[in-house]
C-alpha cells in the first residue's frame, strides 16, 4: 500500500509542474493566482499522503486544514485586490484609459 | 525580593508599554507620566542591582527563568547573568532612557502628535530589549532581544518626516541581514554543541577542543559580521547616518547613545565569554591583527567623513562611526587595558553622544537650521545649551577632566602595551580631526555674527514661545542636557574606580 501512496504522491508532484509553468509564464497576474490556488489545494492533499506514509495522519491533517483555509483566504484577497485596485495588465489602463471600473 | 531584581527591572517598562497602549489613547501626557514612572523604577532598580553586584565578591548574579536547575551540568532553561560590566551598562541604558523621557516631554506632542502613546510604548519596549540583551546568558534569547530592539527602532525612526521612512527602510534591510548572520552563527554553534547557553557552549568547546573546527570558525565569522552590521562598523555603516539624522529628534537622542554601544557590548560578550580569549587572540590566527587594522580604517574614514559634513546631525553620526572603530579596535587589542578601555569608552561614549545629540537637537529646533551656520553667535543667545555642547565636544576631543580623555588614555596605553602603533596613531589623528571640527563650531558660536532666533513659529513648535536667552529653551530640555554633561564629568572624575571595577571583572574572565 505504501508503494501506491508514494507513487500517487510523486504523480501529484509531477502533475504540479505544468501548473508551475503557468505560475512562471502567466500571462496575466490572475492566471498565476489561479495556478497558485490549484497548487495550494493539491499541497493539502499531498500533506495527507505524506502523513499516511509516516503513519501519523492525525498530525498532518491539522496542517492540511489550516493550509486549505489559508489558501482560500489568499486567493480571496488576491481576487479582491485585482478586482478594485489594479488592472491585471498595467498597460491597459494607461493606454486605453477605460479600465472597466 | 532582591533576588528578583533583574527580572523586575525588565518587567517595569514592559508593563509601562502595555499601559501606554491601553489607556493612553491620543493623550501623550498620560503616556509620558507612565513612562517616567516605569523607567524611573527601573533606573532605581538598576542602581540597586549595581550595588548588589558590587557587594558580591564572587562576581556575578545568576537568575534562572522558570526555576529549571541545570541537569548534568548543562542549563535546560534560560539564564540571566549579571556581572559588574552588565550592571554598569544596564544602569547607563535605563538612565539614558529615563533622562531622554524628560527631554521628550515637549517634543513628542510636537513631532509625532496623536501617536505619542505608541511612541512611549515603543521606547519602553526598546529599553526592555536593550536591558535584556545585556543581561541574558543565552545565545538564542540574545537574538530574540536583538529583534525586539531592531523592530522598535525601525518603527521609531520611521515615525519621523518623509525621508525618515526611506532611511528606516534601508535600516530594515541592513539590520535584517545582520540579525540573520547572527542567527546563522548561533545555529551552527547549536549544531556543533547541542546547547544554547553561552557558558555551556564555551565549556563544551573547551572540553571537546573544537577550536580548529571549520564550522566553529565560520560561526564566529558570521556572528561577528552580524554584530558589526548592527553596530555600523565602517564598511557596513551605510544605514546609520540617515537613520539617526532623519528620525524624530527624541528618537535620535535615544538611539545614538545606546544602540551601537550595546552591540559593542554584545561583541565583547561573544568574544570573551562565548568563544574565549584563547580562541580570539590565539597566536596563529590573523583575526586580531586584521580587525585592529579594520578599526583603524573605520576611525580614519569616520573622522574624515565627519569633517566633510556640513549638517550638524550627520556630522555627529559620522563621529559615532569613528567611535565604534575605537571600541572595536580596543576590544581586539589583546591587552587587558585595551579591553577595559573599550569598555570604559562604551560608557563615556554613551554619555557624550547623548550630551551632544541633545544639544544639537535643541540648536536645530531653536534656530530652525540644520547646517553648521546654525551655531553663529549662539554663545550669547543660548549660553546654557552651548555650555552643554562644549562639554560634550571637549569630551569628544579628549580633554582632561572629561571622560573622553580617560577612555582614550586607556585605549592608547592598551595599544602601546600590545604594540599596535597604527591604532595609537589613528586615535591621535582622530582626536586631532575632532578638535578641528569642534573648535570650528566653537569659533562660529563665539565670534560668529548673531542671527535672530527663529521668529516664525511653525505649527510643530507651537508649545515653545521664542524668547531671549535661557528662557527660550524649556527646562524639560535643559535638565537632561545638564545631567548628561554632568555625567560626562562624573565619569571622568570617577575613572579610577570604574577602571578598577572593569578590569577586575575582565581579569576574572581572562583568567
Amino acid at each position: 500500500m505504501d508503494f501506491i501512496l508514494i507513487c500517487s504522491g510523486i504523480a501529484l508532484f509531477l502533475m504540479m509542474l505544468p501548473i508551475m509553468y503557468r505560475i512562471v509564464v502567466g500571462p496575466t497576474a490572475i492566471d498565476r493566482i489561479v495556478a497558485v490556488n490549484v497548487i495550494g489545494t493539491k499541497t493539502a492533499v499531498l500533506l495527507i499522503i505524506i502523513g499516511a506514509l509516516f503513519h501519523n495522519v492525525a498530525m498532518f491533517v491539522d496542517f492540511a486544514i489550516a493550509y486549505a483555509a489559508l489558501n482560500f483566504l489568499g486567493s480571496l484577497a488576491a481576487a479582491r485586490y485585482f478586482n478594485r485596485t489594479r488592472p491585471a495588465y498595467g498597460q491597459v489602463s494607461q493606454e486605453g484609459g477605460d479600465a472597466d471600473e | 525580593m532582591t533576588d528578583h531584581l533583574p527580572i523586575l527591572l525588565l518587567l517595569s517598562p514592559l508593563f509601562g508599554a502595555l499601559v501606554c497602549v491601553l489607556f493612553g489613547k491620543g493623550n501623550s501626557k498620560n503616556a509620558w507620566i507612565v513612562s517616567m514612572i516605569s523607567l524611573g523604577i527601573s533606573s532605581i532598580l538598576s542602581v540597586f542591582l549595581l550595588l548588589k553586584v558590587l557587594s558580591i565578591k564572587a562576581g556575578d548574579i545568576r537568575y534562572r527563568m522558570g526555576g529549571w536547575d541545570p541537569s548534568s551540568g548543562y542549563e535546560v532553561g534560560i539564564e540571566l547573568r549579571i556581572d559588574i560590566l552588565a550592571a554598569l551598562i544596564v544602569l547607563a541604558v535605563t538612565l539614558v532612557g529615563f533622562i531622554n523621557t524628560i527631554y521628550s516631554k515637549t517634543r513628542v506632542p510636537a513631532e509625532v502628535g496623536e501617536k505619542g502613546p505608541f511612541f512611549y510604548a515603543l521606547i519602553q519596549l526598546l529599553i526592555v530589549g536593550l536591558c535584556g540583551i545585556i543581561m541574558t546568558n543565552d545565545a538564542f534569547n540574545l537574538y530574540v532581544l536583538i529583534e525586539i530592539t531592531s523592530l522598535t527602532s525601525y518603527a521609531l525612526i520611521a515615525m519621523g518626516n518623509r525621508r525618515a521612512a526611506l532611511s528606516s527602510f534601508n535600516y530594515v534591510i541592513m539590520g535584517t541581514i545582520g540579525a540573520s548572520f547572527y542567527l546563522l552563527g548561533v545555529g551552527y554553534l547549536y549544531i556543533k554543541t547541542g546547547t544554547l547557553n553561552i557558558d555551556d557552549i564555551h565549556t563544551y568547546l573547551e572540553n571537546e577542543n573544537l577550536w580548529t573546527s571549520q564550522s566553529i570558525i565560520v560561526a564566529f565569522i558570521l556572528i561577528m559580521l552580524g554584530v558589526w552590521t548592527k553596530m555600523a562598523l565602517f564598511p557596513l555603516h551605510g544605514w546609520l547616518p540617515n537613520a539617526y539624522s532623519y528620525a524624530p529628534s527624541m528618537t535620535g537622542t535615544f538611539m545614538a547613545p545606546l544602540m551601537t554601544k550595546v552591540m559593542v557590548y554584545v561583541m565583547i560578550r561573544v568574544m570573551l565569554w562565548l568563544f574565549g580569549a584563547d580562541f580570539v587572540y590565539s597566536e596563529d590566527s590573523v583575526w586580531s591583527e586584521l580587525i585592529v587594522w579594520m578599526s583603524v580604517v573605520a576611525i580614519v574614514a569616520g573622522s574624515f567623513l565627519a569633517l566633510a559634513r556640513n549638517d550638524i546631525k550627520k556630522m555627529l553620526t559620522y563621529l559615532i562611526i569613528a567611535e565604534v572603530g575605537y571600541m572595536v579596535g580596543g576590544a581586539w587589542l589583546n591587552s587587558l587595558t585595551g579591553q577595559a578601555g573599550a569598555f570604559y569608552h562604551i560608557l563615556s561614549d554613551a554619555a557624550m553622544t547623548f550630551c551632544l545629540f541633545i544639544a544639537a537637537s535643541i540648536v536645530i529646533i531653536r534656530t530652525g537650521e540644520s547646517r553648521l551656520n546654525a551655531f553663529d553667535g549662539l554663545f550669547r543667545k543660548m549660553p546654557l545649551t552651548m555650555i552643554g555642547f562644549t562639554i560634550g565636544g571637549l569630551s569628544m576631543i579628549g580633554l582632561p577632566p572629561t571622560c573622553g580623555f580617560f577612555s582614550k588614555w586607556y585605549l592608547i596605553s592598551g595599544g602601546i602595551e600590545s604594540g599596535h602603533w597604527e591604532f595609537v596613531v589613528a586615535l591621535l589623528f582622530s582626536s586631532l580631526i575632532n578638535a578641528v571640527i569642534f573648535f570650528k563650531i566653537f569659533e562660529r558660536a563665539y565670534f560668529g555674527k548673531i542671527k535672530g532666533i527663529k521668529e516664525e513659529v511653525s505649527v510643530a513648535d507651537i508649545d515653545m514661545i521664542p524668547a531671549e536667552g535661557i528662557k527660550s529653551v524649556p527646562a524639560s530640555m535643559l535638565i537632561p542636557l545638564f545631567i548628561s554633561a554632568l555625567s560626562v564629568l562624573i565619569l571622568g572624575i570617577m575613572n579610577k574606580n570604574l577602571f578598577s571595577w572593569i578590569s577586575n571583572a575582565l581579569k576574572m574572565i581572562n583568567g
Binding site: 481576487a79 | 522558570g66 526555576g67 547541542g194
Partner: protein
C-alpha cells in the same frame, strides 16, 4: 555596486558551504544536537516533569518560556509599529465619497464565508487548546483566528469586520494577551518563586506540581493567541487601507 553584491554573496555562500564539512551526518543519532545533555533531558524528562506529551510545546512554553514571551512581544511590536507609522487620524476628505464604504466581495463569497467561518474559528480554538497533544499552540491558533477575521473583512467588507473587532478592541486584546503571559509569570513571582516558574502555582491550580505546569502552559498559550489574533487583524486593516481604516482592499 552590483559586482560587490555578487562578490559578497559568493563569499558568504562559500563560507556557509565550507562550514558544513565539519557537521555531523544528516540524521546522526549521536550528534550533539540530538544526544546532547540538553536534548536528552527534554526527551526523557518532559513527560515526567510537565505531563505534556508534545515536548515541543513544553520546550516552547515552559523551558524556554522566557523566549516565547519576548517572541509575543515581537509580534506586539510589529503591530504597534505598523500603527505608529501608518495610521492617519482624522481627515478623510481626500477620498472621494463613492469610495468610502466597502461592500465586500459579492453574494457568493459571503455565502461561502458564512458557511465556513464558524468552522475555521472552531478549528483555531481547537489548535490553541490542543497544543499539548498535537502540533499547535498559541501562535498557530492565533494566526487561524486572525485569518478568520480577515476573511470576514474580505467577504463582508471591512466595516462589518470592524463592528466585531474595532480598533480599540484590537489594541486591548493585543495588550491583554501579553498581560496574561507576563502576569502569569508575575503570579509565580508573587507566590515566592522565580519568574515563569509554574510549579509555584500548584497551591492554586489542581493536580500537583506537574499538572500546574501543564495548565500554566495552556494559560500562556491563550495569551499568545489573543495577541496574535489582534495583531493579525490590526496589521491587515492598517496595511490594506493605508492606515485610514475606512475601506478595505
Amino acid at each position: 555596486m552590483k559586482f560587490f553584491g555578487l562578490l559578497s554573496v559568493i563569499i558568504v555562500g562559500f563560507l556557509l558551504l565550507s562550514a558544513t564539512k565539519d557537521f555531523p551526518n544528516w540524521g546522526d543519532e549521536d550528534s550533539p544536537a540530538n544526544s546532547g545533555p540538553v536534548s536528552s533531558f527534554y526527551i526523557e524528562k518532559t513527560e515526567e516533569k510537565t505531563k505534556v506529551p508534545n515536548m515541543v510545546t513544553a520546550v516552547l512554553a515552559d523551558y524556554r518560556g522566557y523566549d516565547t514571551m519576548f517572541e509575543t512581544v515581537v509580534i506586539f511590536i510589529a503591530g504597534i509599529g505598523i500603527i505608529a507609522v501608518l495610521r492617519t487620524y482624522g481627515s478623510n476628505e481626500s477620498i472621494p465619497k463613492n469610495q468610502v464604504g466597502d461592500e465586500g466581495a459579492g453574494l457568493l463569497a459571503r455565502m461561502t464565508c458564512s458557511l465556513i467561518l464558524p468552522f475555521i474559528q472552531l478549528f483555531a480554538l481547537y489548535v490553541v487548546a490542543h497544543g499539548h497533544h498535537s502540533p499547535g499552540g498559541g501562535f498557530q491558533g492565533g494566526v487561524m483566528l486572525g485569518a478568520s477575521y480577515i476573511l470576514l473583512a474580505l467577504a463582508y467588507g471591512l466595516a462589518r469586520a470592524k463592528s466585531c473587532f474595532s480598533e480599540k478592541r484590537t489594541l486591548v486584546f493585543a495588550a491583554l494577551g501579553i498581560f496574561i503571559y507576563v502576569g502569569w509569570g508575575v503570579l509565580c513571582l508573587v507566590m515566592g518563586s522565580e519568574f515563569l516558574n509554574y510549579s509555584a502555582l500548584d497551591s492554586i491550580l489542581p493536580g500537583g506540581v506537574e499538572m500546574a505546569r501543564s495548565h500554566s502552559m495552556l494559560a500562556v498559550e491563550i495569551g499568545v493567541a489573543l495577541t496574535v489574533t489582534a495583531i493579525m487583524f490590526s496589521m491587515f486593516s492598517n496595511l490594506s487601507t493605508k492606515g485610514r481604516l475606512d475601506k478595505g482592499l
